[in-house]
Symmetry: C2
Subunit: 306 residues, 2 copies
């Protein structure tokens, strides 16, 4: 069973969670879950893994491994339009690994850097490759003008007619080292929450590839995201758009905005629009390639299952 | 570097966290961290790992692996006198592993069983053994009489003169299968929070062995826990007290109570007392063996580092 298939099963099974547990506002299936505390505060919670040989090469500098572990979870917080509050990290370290202290030190520093102090951790020894897990708890961004909480931005909020934006170029994340040095798009997401308010409809971060992740917004919203490949900017040295759409680990945000918004979206550019699906083109994503051919978004991307 | 040594470094480095981040009430180093939400709600947060070949044998039934993953984190919530709210779980699954769906299904069911719905997860493939991580977010127990929140019970709260209790027998957790079937001591902890109120001073769960974990209360409180080995009940089939003190994975709670409390502690029995340390016997734990010899608590136990 593929990772994304397995996650699909988990999400399907969790659909009734907010019925049985009233303080679960949004269960598994979005970039973060949303839960409600006793006094009514909303929390965003997300967890991720980083596995040696899969998400980073064994010779990667410790500081960059630590950075990526924290940054990936923060990208999920950004994708909900939130702010990070606290983090927890676990490490299963290979037998004889000598740098556990430096690794946790670096994770703690990157947590502080992004205003997300690490408050808990666990370390153990494994006979396999290193496995890190990070959990981040965040909160909705507070609108800088109204001082009210911005509601979490879900994958399911897109509306027919919306324009589709992405916060940066895509492709060659591994080759370029971007996957180790990307900046979680917290600032861009918060700017758009402030500026666009309820005109910001849906958001997701690009971990598995632009087409595949755009399709997740489409399916969650019951709509079709139509992306013009020719409008998508490629990250140097990427030059092959077909490959770039499938590279993944871009950690940019895709978001959809009311077509006739009076405000220009911040820190992103338009790559398409949201349409009503048809029998021939069901909910999800369609990519119009530079020759005018229409391809399903799920054809691109790798099975990374964030 | 041993696991416990590494964790010690992490705790040491995190001591200033609540100065720099005002909403971190208790940083790393106790059974849970304690953080404060915008409206002032206290949250308990804890994270743990379960590694194939280390914390469970490869042929362990999936349901029991899942049960242990959730129960261990709940034991940390119990040790703070709290109630669980929500959980998250990650799994690094060996290549070709066919039961990922059943595993997550079982973790979700055990979460619900203990009123701790799983709201988030991540799955990925590893070339090594299975690594699970669980994060649980809880809250202080609400006193059933006063309806007010019980303050989190820390390791550092013991006072000289306190009596030391444990909630059950210890030893042979692996041999007896107890490590897969134990009940997290949530109910006992909550009963004592209700009944004893401020007379309940300090608490910890026994994961690395009675002597070693009692020493953690002692060091955190700057005091000496003196335990009478002859008063400690052994879990069948354990018969060797020396081994039992070192077995670990008991997941019982050690707690200390005002000597002259008017209320009988619930679901536990007395095994010792808290004394002022001396140069010859510094803060930590001393175990008086059946022959009257005094041994340091840290001599027992295994390096499991919860």
């Amino acid at each position: 069973m593929r990772e994304s298939e397995l996650l699909g099963h988990i999400y399907e099974r969790s659909r009734d969670l907010s019925t049985a547990f009233g303080d679960v506002v949004i269960g598994p299936g979005d970039d973060c879950a949303v839960v409600r505390t006793s006094s009514g505060d909303l929390l965003l919670v997300t967890t991720d893994q980083l596995i040696e040989g899969r998400h980073f090469e064994p010779d990667t500098p410790i500081d960059l491994i630590a950075r990526k572990a924290i940054a990936r979870s923060l990208s999920d917080i950004a994708a909900m339009g939130g702010s990070p509050s606290w983090g927890l990290a676990t490490a299963a370290l290979p037998e004889g690994y000598e740098h556990g202290d430096a690794l946790f030190d670096a994770m703690a520093e990157w947590g502080k850097h992004w205003n997300c102090p690490l408050v808990g951790g666990d370390v153990a020894i494994t006979s396999g490759p290193m496995v890190l897990s990070t959990t981040v708890i965040g909160k909705p961004h507070v609108n800088s003008k109204s001082q009210s909480n911005c509601p979490p931005v879900l994958r399911s909020g897109a509306k027919a007619g919306d324009l589709v934006y992405v916060t940066g170029p895509i492709g060659d994340s591994f080759e370029s080292g971007h996957h180790l040095s990307f900046e979680p798009r917290l600032a861009q997401a918060q700017l758009n929450c402030d500026a666009l308010g309820p005109d910001l409809h849906a958001m997701i971060d690009v971990s598995d590839g632009l087409g595949r992740d755009a399709a997740r917004i489409g399916r969650a919203s019951g709509l079709l995201l139509e992306i013009d490949a020719s409008r998508v900017q490629l990250r140097a040295p990427a030059s092959d758009w077909l490959k770039a759409f499938g590279d993944g680990e871009d950690y940019e945000l895709i978001f959809t905005v009311t077509k006739d918004t009076q405000v220009e979206p911040q820190g992103g550019y338009c790559i398409g629009r949201v349409r009503t699906p048809t029998d021939a083109e069901p909910a999800g994503c369609v990519v119009i390639d530079p020759s005018g051919n229409r391809r399903r978004g799920d054809e691109f991307g790798w099975d990374h299952a964030d």
